[in-house]
């Protein structure tokens, strides 16, 4: 199976081996501190769309957070990938991990649809009569999917024969 071979290759790299055998806690700590720091941007942006946070305006929040969320994505994504490298052949078969990947793809799809279809409407509507319904649905979905990602992450440790 091709996936298994790729996972084995990742695990056998210098980095995968070093993390697994010696410094497994370092990417874990980056992953969690990154999640805590940058998760705030996701939450605040979604709460603003849902009208639970009212200041500053959405366009301001979105503009301010764009580079910050990219930085967060790099820190959390890279550390996550390094964790995966260190334990790839077990993780890819882990149901919690599989759910996490699916949910992250749904997060990405939701963000892409929001950017291409709803974002401009929000910027226009902000000046007149508040946030459009589609944007609120997208924000609620984002919070829900991210919660799912956290759930799946915790499940990783509790399913599968080796975990």
């Amino acid at each position: 199976m091709a996936i298994r071979e790729i996972c084995q290759a990742l695990e056998d790299t210098w980095l995968g081996t070093a993390v697994r055998e010696r410094v497994y806690y370092i990417p874990q700590i980056f992953h969690l501190v990154g999640m805590a720091l940058f998760g705030g941007a996701v939450v605040m942006e979604d709460l603003r769309l849902l009208g639970r946070v009212r200041k500053p305006g959405y366009s301001e929040i979105s503009r301010q957070f764009l580079p910050w969320k990219w930085a967060g994505g790099v820190v959390v994504g890279l550390s996550g990938f390094v964790i995966f490298m260190s334990d790839a052949t077990r993780l890819y078969r882990n149901e919690g991990f599989q759910w996490k990947v699916v949910l992250l793809l749904l997060v990405a799809a939701n963000a892409l649809i929001f950017r291409s279809k709803v974002y401009q409407q929000v910027l226009i509507a902000e000046k007149t009569d508040g946030i459009p319904r589609a944007a609120k649905i997208s924000a609620a979905l984002s919070l829900l999917l991210w919660t799912g990602v956290i759930v799946a992450s915790r499940i990783i440790g509790f399913v599968g024969p080796e975990y």
Partner: protein, 162 residues
Amino acid sequence: MPLFKLLDWWGETPVAHAMNSAVWVFPAVEVLHMIGIVLLVGLAAIIDLRLLGVRFTGTPVPALSSELAPWTTTGFVLVLITGPLLLSTDPDRYYLSWEFRFKMACLALVILFDFALHSRVRAGGGSPAMQRLAGWVSLILWCCVVAAGRAIGVLKTAILFN
């Protein structure tokens, strides 16, 4: 030792038995703990970035702070309930863990610092230098709390008494 006795008692309460009653209870409470962390630390970090002059410089500090306050409070209540619940599952292990002690020390410091200075700066007081100081101290301490928290789960050191 009184603290050790208190933890021992906490580990024998019905709450602790409920936490240990099934394997899924601990991760379920962990999920709530993490949601609390993102609300508390994630939104506190945004206020700290404002204090540092990195983000939202066009919004006054008190306005941003009061806008996010209900959510950081929600996060704080969540971690304050779920933390002791997680602790109750195995108080001895946490008591003997360096990471746990470091986390509690940083948590105590950040709470004290909040009452002493950060809350006043959030309300709009303090010089720009004071604001930057408050932002840095809070940001660094919160990062230490989260880092130590993750380390409890992965490092698992134990203090040995000979």
